[in-house]
């Protein structure tokens, strides 16, 4: 029973101290994460955006140059070539990865499949091989006297000719990536309600019609997600082309097959931090555009 005999001021004082601790607690829990986030992401992002407007050699005072970094990149044949190569590495594997991954998931879920449980990890396992290891293994397999030429049998220069080399890189990307899309679609297919498919069957739809008119429309968000993820990963592509096609200890792909990331890395190594940042921000702009389109397409539907 409250008797009202507690000295006035004492209770509030006692309550205020824990209240301060209560207020501080969430911030203390989040502080370490936020510190790492700010130091290694927020500040570098801001400084990267600013740096793209300056000429900066890594020492001394940065010179403000406005949009000149962007202009000189757009005028550079090397840069345009690397954009074209990145678009190639983005679009060529896109259909095999997304459509192939989807069809594989549909087939594995079929009643006729003998051992779906065993196939799942097998198709996924290339994801587990690090890109470095995968590129090295492929370099051996596609070398002039490697297993690919001996099995076909052919005498194709898969790696040293950049034009053919780009196709080899695309094949490596598909091999390493398809299992990921397969698992994503497998999870997506599990979310398609059985009743909807049964209703379609009752209405006389065959397997193909069910797939095209029921499953695919329901999986639309997942298709969009897959395309966005593929776009982001294609823009960041670095290891595969450079280690598959790159010669010598430097491990840099020839110009005719070099991805966009090489422009970032080579400009850093050349001490051109403004140019390197500008490349990075153009990559970000591309990702923002693709994500915005995805968002629009999703909303349109809903």
């Amino acid at each position: 029973m409250p008797t009202g005999t507690t000295a006035p001021g004492e209770a509030p004082a006692r309550r205020r101290r824990p209240a301060a601790a209560d207020r501080a607690a969430p911030y203390l829990f989040i502080a370490p994460f936020l510190l790492s986030f700010a130091l290694f992401f927020l500040i570098p992002s801001a400084s990267s955006a600013a740096l793209s407007l300056f000429s900066y050699r890594g020492y001394g005072e940065p010179d403000f140059v406005g949009l000149r970094n962007y202009a000189s990149l757009l005028g550079s044949p090397d840069f345009r070539l690397s954009v074209a190569n990145t678009v190639f590495y983005w679009l060529v594997p896109l259909i095999p990865l997304v459509v192939g991954g989807f069809l594989l998931a549909v087939l594995v879920r079929s009643r006729l499949t003998i051992a779906p449980g065993a196939l799942r990890p097998v198709y996924f396992v290339p994801q587990v091989m690090a890109p470095v290891a995968a590129a090295l293994v492929w370099r051996v397999m596609f070398s002039s006297d490697g297993v690919v030429n001996s099995l076909l049998p052919s005498d194709v220069d898969w790696l040293t000719d950049p034009t053919t080399g780009r196709w080899s890189v695309a094949a490596l990307i598909v091999w390493r990536g398809i299992g990921w899309y397969f698992v994503v679609f497998l999870a997506g297919l599990a979310s398609v309600p059985d009743e909807t498919l049964e209703a379609a069957t009752v209405d006389g739809a065959n397997a193909w019609q069910r797939l095209v008119h029921v499953t695919v429309p329901l999986m639309r968000p997942i298709f969009l997600f897959a395309v966005v993820i593929d776009t982001i990963q294609s823009l960041q592509l670095f290891t595969e082309p450079n280690l598959l096609l790159g010669t010598g200890t430097a491990g840099i792909a020839p110009r005719a097959a070099a991805p966009l990331m090489n422009q970032v890395v080579l400009n850093i190594q050349g001490g051109q931090f403004g140019l390197a940042s500008a490349v990075g921000w153009m990559m970000f702009a591309a990702i923002a555009v693709v994500s915005a389109i995805q968002f629009r397409l999703l909303r349109e539907r809903a």
Partner: protein, 286 residues
Amino acid sequence: MASAVPRRTGSAGSRLALNLVLLGFAVLVVAPFVTMVFGSVKTPAEITSNPGGIPRSPTVDNFGVLFTGETGMTVWRGLLNSVIVTVPFTAITVVLCAMAGYAFTRYDFRGRKAIFVLMMASILVPFEVNLPSLYAMFAQIGWLNTYQVQILPGTASVIGMFMARQYMSGLPGEVFEAARLDGAGHWRTFRSIALPMSTPVLGAVALLTFVAKWSDYLWPRVVANDPTFQPIMVLLPALSTSQDGFIVRYELLLAGAAIVTLPLLLLFLVFQSTLMSGTTAGAVRG
């Protein structure tokens, strides 16, 4: 019991064709692994005469050369560096994600929503965008060619934090209430209630972080050009390449690839489903 694919008998022929296609694809997918393992135990002569087939006289010489030959120091150093970098990176990431995820689930504080939105939006900015400014920043404070430059950046994993938050928000609120009534403080409640109850998700975050960090190539390649600090992923490609870059010893490359793949493959064998569902987390969020 009901399957997504309605019952349909299908002829024996189409059943056979379907399974052959799936099996054929599985063979294609596994082929590079087989080439790697077979090739790693072949002699230099056999790797050219019999690049794909079963090794006629398997030998472990390649591994001997890698671990004890003139490259021995490099390989051990690289593996050691990979462990030195990957283990603390993973530990720090898990702790940061657990604490931040906990704050977002258990507390309502000023700025909570804004911070969360900022973090989720940051997923759109790839790490690579910041490579130039990060490099310039670390060059200035003398962190290039160190371990800390490979351990600290990237520990604020937004995806990891999000996974922790999702899981923790599903924990029953009563346990936390009970702990509070028992007089447990904020840290005690987190340490002895939230952490143990979140082991599954934190284990998944640890696993995914470890695999990604172990496989990382671009970041260490850019910030560490001194072999003393380079992880195995950066040292490996140069291992069997001579200075002029022309003589490539394929059997050594394959043995090296096998060495770095083995730990990941073992993790995959044990934690298969966690790895598969974890790397695709967020895909089917809708």
